[in-house]
């Protein structure tokens, strides 16, 4: 079975942990997040007839006092940049984290997740902003951790991207 490490990145309070909780039945207490700065869960997924074990590294959110510990990104096959639709600043933070993530893991698949679609009437992030990012090649998914909308899709889509990105193995290289 293929194993993939995925990181959840974003500002504190945008709903990263809630998104993961929507998706998996975790066994580790959220206490880890505040102490060690990371909480890990796993989820078995079948994408394009391929069984995949996702290891979800939920990294403590970034705020004015602490930055994301990029050492936890090491070895990630992909990552989510999570922001809160009702909070424009969180998109700025997501972009900044993206820059640092590239420095650590390089050019791996990622996805911008704009959470809190259930509060769409209070959104600060505008559609043109998101369209511009899509035009730049970003994958964008709108979700609601509260209702579950878009949650399955975000994981499935990123997993598909990661599987496509799979570098050739030695056997394939020798052929």
């Amino acid at each position: 079975m293929i194993q993939k490490k995925i990181c959840m990145l974003g500002s504190a309070g945008v709903g990263k942990t809630s998104l993961v909780a929507r998706f998996v039945q975790g066994i580790f207490s959220a206490k880890y997040l505040s102490t060690v700065g990371v909480k890990i869960d796993k989820k078995n997924l079948t994408v394009d007839d391929q069984e995949v074990l996702l290891l979800l590294w939920d990294l403590a959110g970034e705020d004015s006092r602490s930055q994301v510990q990029t050492s936890y990104l090491r070895g990630a096959a992909g990552y989510f940049l999570v922001c809160d639709g009702t909070w424009a600043e969180s998109l700025v933070t997501a972009k900044s984290i993206h820059q640092r993530a590239i420095e650590t893991v390089g050019d791996v698949p990622f996805m911008l997740v704009v959470n809190k679609s259930d509060l769409w009437n209070r959104w600060e992030i505008t559609a043109p902003e998101l369209e511009k990012l899509v035009a730049d090649g970003w994958k964008v998914q709108v979700t609601s951790a509260k209702s579950g909308d878009g949650v399955e899709e975000m994981f499935t889509k990123l997993t598909q991207d990661m599987l496509r990105e799979r570098p050739i193995s030695d056997a394939e290289a020798e052929a």
């Binding site: 060690v36 890990i40 290891l55 070895g75 193995s169 030695d170």
Partner: protein, 531 residues
């Protein structure tokens, strides 16, 4: 060569045609021509080409790498050659670049080696003198295996419950093996999460200690310990119950190094598919030590009973041997201090004792003495030669016996029908008195009291009533004579036997003569016993 007017006309027509064609081309392809010209310039000008290439080279290389390894192969000799040239030109450049990594790697290797060594020394010291270690050394000698192997095999103090091979970078589980079922995916619940969490903790520990090259070596829990061996690309995590010996670290290191060697390619290109590491299972199996001996074994009850019985038997035997020796020694000491006994040899046998020596007949019986010390007399064989001890007690005893014998044999003879002491008998009385005196002295020294019985007799002639009086009279005469010689009368009793107990029976003259006499009998007893 001159031209004819016809030729000139043809030329002029041709030129006109060409101009028209050029005009038509310019009209139809004007823009493309300009672009073609620019393209030609770009291709011809190396400076422009270099600039353009530099912009896309990175992406092109990355793409090529994704597609296949041709570029890598092509680069291989170039990079090698470049490194060679660089080192030849200026070795310090490469040395300076590598120094921080090499320093760190060497430090880590040395620290690991020292750590292993210190643990080994501690452990060796702990068990070097134990019965177990002697047993293991003997087994190592016997089987030709190394002592370390025997220790690992026989140490009941630990058990590797499971081993997980973890990809260092992603924290993914590459292979997982546990004791007993050996089925993958069982054991630590959520092995994938545990290994991810371990790498996360490792990162965390490095961050908080500000030492990016430090490794998390060990996690201790109440009932087990997790040991981690760090390879460059994979970690080997072992869950161990009990107290593992340091040799186990060497096993983890050895197997992880072998895995790195065998799976170098798979480790480098790992992208989540662990199936390539199926072949690493035998290496993990080698780490699952202690499986033959299972849990730290408690000695079985049967074994415990046997050991207890043997111990009790040994203790009991020891006690009996000690008691036997102690009794024997006391007995010998007593014999050696016993007057009249000289011990010249003593031997202890499994079932009996033998003593040889000299013994005064008056001395105590050495064999009977054994009973006083808890030794059965029948187990003692005594070989004693008689001798006369110069011990004062024995000389006194002998003197006493001799005097007593003399007195008991002494007789005072009387004429027919008379109790008169004849002169030659008076000499005997003097003699008697002297012996009595000596006897008294010896008795005093020996703590005895003596009493002298004087028995008067008469011959069988004459009337019996007269004979009784006569015999009594004769005895009293002797008493009187002794009194005169200073003998205390309370020491002496007189008895007239008449003819009732004749010394000789018969009516011949010599038989009658010996009965006209007074005989003596000495009695002795310890002082104070007299009623």
């Amino acid at each position: 060569m001159g031209s004819t007017p016809a030729d000139l006309e043809r030329d002029s027509e041709f030129d006109q045609g060409r101009d028209e064609l050029a005009e038509l081309r310019a009209l139809l392809l004007g823009q493309q021509l300009v672009e073609l010209e620019a393209l030609r310039k770009r291709l011809d000008d190396p400076q422009v080409r270099a600039e353009e290439l530099s912009q896309i080279l990175g992406k092109a290389v990355a793409l090529s790498f994704k597609r296949n390894r041709d570029l890598q192969r092509a680069f291989n000799p170039v990079v090698e050659q470049a490194l060679k040239i660089s080192i030849a030109n200026n070795p310090s450049i490469l040395a300076t670049s590598l120094a921080p990594i090499i320093g760190d790697a060497v430090r880590k290797a040395v620290a690991n080696a020292l750590r292993g060594m210190v643990e080994s020394i501690n452990f060796t010291l702990e068990r070097s003198l134990s019965w177990e270690s002697i047993k293991w050394r003997f087994e190592a000698l016997r089987t030709g295996k190394s002592f370390g192997d025997i220790v690992l095999l026989r140490s009941l103090r630990y058990k590797v419950q499971q081993v997980i091979l973890i990809h260092a970078e992603t924290g993914s589980v590459l292979q997982h093996l546990k004791q007993q079922t050996n089925a993958p995916g069982e054991g630590i619940p959520e092995a994938e999460l545990a290994s991810s969490m371990l790498t996360a903790l490792q990162d965390y520990a490095r961050d908080i200690s500000q030492r990016p090259s430090q490794d998390l070596q060990e996690i201790e829990m109440d009932d087990c310990v997790y040991w981690v061996h760090h390879g460059p690309q994979a970690l080997l995590l072992g869950q161990i119950a009990g107290a593992p010996p340091p040799e186990l670290r060497h096993v983890f290191a050895r197997e992880n190094e072998l895995i790195h060697r065998e799976f170098a390619g798979a480790l480098a290109s790992f992208s989540g598919d662990a199936s390539a590491f199926e072949g690493a299972r035998p290496h993990l199996q080698h780490c699952l030590l202690g499986q033959t001996t299972a849990q730290p074994q408690k000695p079985s009850r049967w074994w415990l009973a046997v050991v207890s019985a043997v111990l009790i038997a040994i203790l009991a035997l020891g006690f009996f041997i000690y008691r036997r020796n102690s009794r024997w020694n006391h007995y010998l000491a007593r014999l050696r201090s016993e007057p009249g006994i000289v011990v010249t040899g003593a031997e202890k046998h499994w079932r009996h004792f033998e003593i040889a020596g000299l013994r005064d007949p008056l001395a105590a019986d050495p064999v009977k003495l054994a009973a006083d010390f808890g030794i059965e007399p029948e187990r003692v064989q005594g070989h004693f030669e008689p001798y006369q001890s110069l011990d004062q007690r024995f000389t006194l005893e002998r003197e006493f016996d001799s005097e007593k014998q003399q007195l008991d044999q002494m007789m005072i003879m009387f004429p027919v029908n008379s109790s008169a002491i004849l002169p030659e008998q008076a000499v005997r009385l003097d003699n008697l008195e002297a012996h009595l005196d000596k006897l008294q002295q010896a008795a005093g020294a020996l703590g005895r009291e003596i009493h002298l019985n004087i028995y008067g007799r008469a011959d069988q002639t004459g009337a019996e009533s007269k004979n009784a009086a006569l015999s009594r009279e004769r005895a009293e005469r002797v008493l009187g004579a002794l009194r005169e010689r200073g003998v205390a009368p309370e020491l002496i009793s007189v008895v007239g036997l008449g003819t009732t107990e004749p010394i000789r029976r018969g009516s011949e003259a010599y038989q009658l003569e010996v009965n006209r006499s007074v005989a003596l009998k000495v009695e002795s007893q310890p002082q104070g016993d007299r009623p």
